[in-house]
């Protein structure tokens, strides 16, 4: 049978505040185990939470950026369950009245724009981390992450393919980066998604039974997990069996998912209002203040790039998907004055490196200013294409100024006409066979000479100049 795929995402994003959500411990990834902890984030007896105001501001900011309505009144609840990484045995979250609700995000699927509903965004706390003991016996707990502020973004089940799910996650990541509420480092788990997926026979209105896959922490994993789950459910349904409402764990290495607990077991979280935290009332002024602090978002920025810089829609879309990259583009365009050149180089050289080495290169020595300088040298013909690539390589390694690299490695194009002419004469004279070939009409010999000459000039010759002089020189033998 053929089915429609119905997907909703629950996206958890850690907020990049200085301190944790309920105590004055440092909010930072990693560190020696249990060194960024205090009695509060360890849930010791008698301790109480005190809400970090910035957490509320960031959650609202994210909500506004996703076109949500902001609740004038919201509050906190306890979600009770036992797990060793949850020191209080309850998670403080916003179960009944989330701070943001009823929003949307537009995504680009091929040439279409699709609107995905945001059901709610709520504030909650992260849990600690479990690792296996090096002795092979037992598990170890590090509570440094316990109490790190999170927002959970719950979408409506508006996604209809694994690809859309991936694109939505990419889009939301971009929004969170633009609004600077989260650093979205997926490899560090600061952005992760749960995939809720069900199938519905095409043409049917009855929603299918959905499963949930937890804690997917890469775009690829989201897409693959959704794809595999859609296929699994189709097989189950096609064989006349039932899909169970269950939570499954995706194993990205094996490319398959397995149920997490018994099917019968339905978790009863016994949610109730957190008595230790007073409710939150938000007024218009507060919201307006936060609204004013929201920067230009990716969609708007993309339109501006198309109009202002005249770069292709596709390029503009890709570049604006990453705020740091977009910032580099803008600055580099300003420095070198040729946005199309910058855009081309980002789409090729930079994207290639990002694919190979990861996004880290955007946070290293490369910035809009030095990238722009390199492209300015290129644009003025001061260095060759190959030399520009070489400067980027060295820059990423040493962080030197482009001008310093160009001078140190002697990369400036060699335009001294007599020197170039002499080199050409010499090469032509010392390769009589090639000259004979050329004279007898074998045009390939021209390329041979070009290569030899450029090598002799150590790659610094200006190809058009060399070509012009070489043509004249060879003319003499015809």
């Amino acid at each position: 049978m053929n089915y429609d795929i119905v997907i909703g995402l629950e996206i958890h994003s850690e907020l990049k505040t200085s301190s944790k959500i309920f105590c004055g411990c440092k909010n930072e990834f990693g560190g020696e185990p249990n060194t960024r902890c205090c009695p509060v984030c360890l849930g010791m007896p008698g301790t109480l939470p005190a809400l970090n105001k910035r957490v509320l501001e960031y959650a609202i900011k994210a909500g506004l950026a996703m076109n949500c309505r902001i609740a004038g009144f919201s509050k906190f609840d306890r979600k009770n369950y036992f797990y060793p990484d949850m020191p209080k045995a309850y998670q403080v979250t916003q179960h009944s009245l989330p701070i943001c609700y009823d929003g949307y995000v537009d995504i680009d699927v091929g040439y279409e724009t699709k609107r995905i509903g945001i059901e709610r965004i709520h504030i909650e706390e992260d849990a600690g981390k479990l690792i296996h003991s090096s002795t092979g016996q037992g598990s170890l707990i590090d509570y440094n992450r316990s109490g790190v502020p999170l927002i959970e973004i719950v979408t409506k089940p508006d996604l209809n393919s694994p690809e859309e799910a991936k694109i939505l996650l990419e889009t939301i990541k971009t929004i969170l980066e633009y609004t600077e509420v989260s650093d979205c480092k997926m490899q560090e788990g600061s952005l992760r998604a749960d995939v809720n997926l069900s199938l519905r026979p095409i043409g049917s209105n009855t929603p299918g039974v959905r499963t949930e896959m937890k804690n997917l922490n890469s775009f690829r994993a989201v897409q693959r997990a959704a794809q595999a789950e859609a296929e699994r459910q189709a097989r189950v349904l096609d064989s006349g069996q039932k899909v169970y409402k269950e939570t499954r764990r995706w194993d990205d290495h094996k490319g398959e998912s397995l149920p997490m607990r018994d099917k019968e077991e339905v978790m009863d979280y016994r949610c109730f209002p957190e008595p230790d935290l007073p409710p939150v009332y938000v007024d218009e002024d507060f919201i307006n203040e936060i609204q004013a602090s929201i920067p230009e978002l990716p969609g708007m920025r993309r339109e501006r790039y198309i109009n202002q810089y005249g770069i292709p829609k596709y390029d503009a879309g890709l570049i604006t998907q990453n705020k740091v990259l977009a910032d580099i583009f803008e600055k580099a365009s300003e420095v070198c004055g040729n946005p199309k050149l910058v855009s081309n180089w980002i789409m090729t050289e930079i994207m290639k490196r990002m694919n190979e080495e990861g996004e880290g290169i955007l946070h290293s020595y490369l910035n809009g200013d030095n990238f722009g300088q390199i492209l300015l040298f290129l644009d003025k013909g001061d260095i060759t294409h190959a030399a520009a690539i070489q400067v980027i390589d060295v820059l990423l390694e040493t962080g030197e100024e482009p001008i310093v690299i160009v001078e140190r490695l002697n990369l400036r194009v060699q335009r001294d006409e007599s020197l170039v002419a002499n080199t050409i004469k010499q090469v032509v004279n010392s390769n009589p066979q090639a000259l004979d070939d050329y004279i007898s009409g074998k045009k390939k010999a021209f390329g041979f000479f070009m290569g030899k000459i450029m090598a002799e000039l150590k790659g610094r010759g200006d190809p058009s100049q060399v070509k012009e002089i070489l043509t004249k020189e060879l003319q003499r033998y015809l």
Binding site: P45, G46, L48, P275
Partner: protein, 483 residues
């Protein structure tokens, strides 16, 4: 008269006038504790070495400094659910038998800053669940008036220590009467402040929305003095209130002409023992003769207060006590083979019967199946009760009632009948549901010679008025002292 019988005010005067030094005073108390505590079992931890050091330090301050805090050198004690840094805080539970908090409760910090000396930590019902102080791994607290009887609870150790002169004053906690009822059973003053007036930071939680740390003292004046120290906003407790400081010890005993006191008929129900009722009525008449205006009134929904109380408190307890899993602190079963085993075995061994009973009750009341009809319903009732109080306080200044329908009962008497035990809280729980201040003042004794207390409930932050009217009662009835 033994110096330990003296009030905080009297003791402070002796210290100030150099009639005794702080370290001598503390030693007197430890002599008394060693003599009497074995029979009463109020203390579970005695901090003799630390206390002597602290007293010597207090004496140095008094010797060298003109700006000496009023309570400097005063020996005091704390219920064992108030965290004291590096001093065992057990909640009278096997679960926390060896727990050494790496932090102090805000109230304890405030008391230390004011120069008081901690003598030790006090027995109680495990995790403050109970009203007889029998549910304790350290054994029951005995009533100093007659050791065959309970001291009340859950702050039984606090009331018994002050009544038997084993501390100048004590702090306890009141979730549903936990300070007022033992104060009444032991013949001392017990005050539960308005919810939010005293920081709960470092008070080991039982039912967060109901409980407050409060005072057990020998008289009303002491109570006011200690209020001045322990109240105030605390950024560590988001439910603590920001408001201007008051002097609770000032002007006590001033005339109460025209003060309107209401007597809700629901708090004088059929369960009220006649003897207790008579003493309360006599006390009220004497207040009338001093100018108070008495009226009958009705707070109809208060009859459901006990139901709402047990549902809400157990629900919150089931969540507050879920953290005890033996991993980071507390009792741990060493033989557990997997994580679920670790939880189950540690918790089963670490918690006593009554605690487990409340956890089960609360889990039941919060479960998806019953939450609406029990927990949420109880919150609705709580709202109605609060409104009924508010309406009453539009007309009256104070609500008066017995603290308990009975005087202290015999040890073991109710231990196997939890419901019967719970129902004894019928007069105290409403103040907790509505977050109101309430004080218990000794006003007489029954034929067995056991103390009876009267309860005054006020509108939020009316502690000064409560203490003033309480002072009138104290002036009429006199302090109850064990001879």
């Amino acid at each position: 008269m033994s110096i330990c019988k003296k009030t905080v005010t009297e003791t402070a005067e002796l210290l100030r006038t150099r009639k005794i030094s702080a370290d001598e005073l503390v030693k007197e108390y430890f002599d008394e504790i060693k003599k009497k505590n074995p029979d009463i079992n109020a203390y579970v931890t005695i901090c003799e070495d630390e206390a002597i050091k602290a007293a010597e330090a207090a004496q140095k301050i008094m010797d060298s400094n003109n700006d000496v805090p009023y309570l400097c050198g005063i020996p005091m004690t704390l219920k064992d659910n108030i965290c004291t840094k590096n001093i065992k805080t057990t909640c009278a539970s096997k679960m926390l038998e060896d727990f050494l908090p790496p932090y102090s409760a805000t109230v304890y910090k405030k008391l230390l800053d004011s120069g008081t000396v901690l003598l030790g930590k006090l027995n109680m019902d495990e995790f403050a669940m109970g009203n007889s102080s029998e549910h304790s791994i350290f054994g029951a607290v005995h009533n100093p008036w007659n050791t065959a009887f309970v001291a009340g609870g859950s702050s039984g150790g606090s009331a018994a220590s002050v009544a038997s002169n084993l501390a100048a004053f004590a702090l306890g906690s009141d979730t549903g009467g936990g300070i007022r009822q033992p104060a009444s059973f032991c013949g001392v003053v017990g005050l539960k402040p308005t919810y939010g007036l005293v920081s709960r930071y470092g008070l080991i939680a039982f039912a967060s929305s109901l409980e407050q740390i409060g005072i057990i003292s020998k008289d009303i004046t002491d109570c006011g003095i200690i209020m001045n120290v322990i109240t105030g906003h605390d950024p560590m407790d988001s439910t603590s209130i920001k408001r201007p400081a008051e002097d609770y010890s000032e002007g006590l005993g001033k005339n109460i002409d025209g003060i309107k006191i209401a007597l809700p008929k629901e708090l004088f129900g059929s369960e009220l023992e006649k003897e207790v009722g008579n003493v309360i009525n006599d006390t009220l008449k004497r207040l009338e003769s001093r100018g108070a205006v008495l009226s009958d009134c009705s707070l109809p929904t208060i009859e459901n207060a006990i139901h709402a109380y047990y549902i809400i408190s157990s629900s919150e307890a089931s969540s507050n006590l879920a953290r005890y899993d033996g991993i980071r602190y507390g009792h741990r079963n060493e033989r557990a083979e997997n994580i679920s085993d670790l939880y189950r075995k540690s918790r089963t061994e670490g918690f006593g019967q009554e605690t487990k009973r409340r956890i089960l009750l609360g889990t039941y009341a919060l479960s998806a199946e019953h939450q609406d009809e029990l927990y949420k319903k109880a919150l609705k009732v709580r709202n109605i009760i609060t409104r009924e109080f508010r309406n009453a306080f539009d007309e009256y200044d104070i609500i008066a009632a017995p603290v308990s329908p009975v005087t202290a009962f015999k040890l073991q008497e109710n231990l196997n009948n939890p419901l019967k035990m719970y129902l004894k809280d019928v007069y105290t729980v409403a103040a907790n549901l509505a977050g109101l201040p309430a004080v218990s003042i000794p006003c007489g004794k029954d034929k067995k010679g056991l103390p009876i207390g009267i309860q005054l409930i006020g509108k939020p932050f009316s502690e000064k008025l409560l203490l003033n009217v309480g002072k009138q009662i104290e002036m009429e009835a006199g302090r109850l002292e064990i001879i």
